[in-house]
Symmetry: C2
Subunit: 228 residues, 2 copies
DNA sequence: TATCGAATACTCCATTCCGAGTAATCGAAG
DNA sequence: CTTCGATTACTCGGAATGGAGTATTCGATA
């Protein structure tokens, strides 16, 4: 059981919109878009309509009326229930107060990076830094626009947060790339050696048959960890 | 079309394991566990078996043999194909070099935080900091254990990365909580006022009928943004 | 005034995911 | 020697996801 009856964060955004006033799903989507919330909460129609239906099923919102103009598709207007309001507050409080594990793709990559040779990994990180700086540039520009429009900071803190996280990532990646290049990162020699031997045609299993002999005594730990 | 034929990062971990030697799925799972990779890549059995099957279907791995000991379930041993190897390298290179949007739950929360009153949000952030510090403590302890065992840093950079990100998050959240408490965060007064009026029984729509009158001239922007 | 692209307002459904369940075996303690 | 929890090794089905498709209308341009 996933603690929340509806667990997609998009549902929280829906409750947030309906806390203001009743809306129909498409209006919710455009509201979220114009406010820039779709940059922090993944929004696509498939999920939106599924989530709205699920919220209704669980009594957190109710449909108020269905109207149609001309031969356009129907628009069902939803409003939040008392139960929905308290779910909204409780859920939002939980999101703000309770750290949760978020798996990022960089973490996945880092955890397996020894699968590529050190020089290549360093180069890839240098590429990444270029990309990160471009993203950061975009965020800073967007912040400036919001500021010039007079939008108070409270309504775009998530952007500041992204900026902070991206900055920390840039710092980390630059440092890591340098430490790989200079072989100051612990184990880089063993790592490089493994790839040299593999490039020379030796299999991983052959290398690991005698790690210390093939790779040096730093590799003892690998021998200990890899055998069953 | 999701660029990769198999897009779950767990598939990358599977390919990584099979790059070393042939294994059966359960062995892959235990290998990933003992190496601590399941902290960076979500691992559950349902996904593991689905992903293995999908990798096979797409020709990135092949089953080598199926054996059974006693009346235990069958164990099918898989090995990586040449195509699988190049997919592994290509995919890993992409993960390392190319930033992607990762939606976090905190970002979702931040983007909607105006839905709760400022004082409460500040308190929630203070709670979060406690939790984050506990997590950080655990990570630092784990790093020490790895270091004492002599495990070279290359094989646990992902942990350092998590540490860096969590530290940046703590800094951000502490600063934000302080700026809310001291009302130095732009718009905090308007924000507080909205919740005071709502607590006094006024609806959001009533408030927004005359934002400047109800909330002060800082709220002009809200009027502009909220009407259609 | 005819056309064409953008916006409106969804629907569909093939994957993918993931938590819970199952069933056998092993090892240690009493 | 027997019981009980941990480990081994998966299977299953319901829920979530997300991209592509559909049908109408509006507004600008030629």
């Amino acid at each position: 059981m996933t603690r929340r009856r509806v667990s997609n964060p998009l549902a929280l955004a829906v409750l947030s919109c309906l806390s203001e006033r009743p809306m129909h799903p498409y209006e919710i989507s455009t509201t979220l878009r114009t406010r820039g919330k779709e940059h922090s909460i993944k929004l696509n129609y498939g999920s939106l309509y599924a989530v709205v239906e699920s919220l209704q099923k669980h009594g957190l919102i109710t449909s108020r009326e269905t109207l149609r103009e001309g031969r356009r598709p129907e628009r069902t207007i939803y409003e939040i229930t008392a139960e929905g309001s308290s779910e909204f507050e409780d859920w939002l409080a939980e999101l703000l107060s309770t750290p949760v594990r978020n798996y990022t793709s960089l973490e996945a990559g880092l955890s397996l990076m020894a699968g590529l040779p050190p020089a290549e990994v360093a180069r890839l990180f240098e590429d990444r830094v270029v990309g990160l700086r471009i993203e950061l540039g975009g965020i800073v520009a967007a912040e400036k626009v919001a500021d010039d429009m007079g939008l108070p900071e409270v309504f775009s803190v998530e952007t500041r947060f992204r900026q902070a996280m991206l900055t920390a990532e840039v710092d980390f990646v630059i440092d890591l790339a340098q430490r790989i290049r200079s072989e100051k990162l612990g184990g880089t020699e063993v790592w490089r050696r493994i790839h040299e031997l593999r490039a020379a045609g030796m299999s991983y299993e052959q290398i690991m048959a005698d790690p210390v002999g093939n790779l040096g005594k730093e590799a003892q730990i690998l021998a200990d960890n890899i055998d069953r």
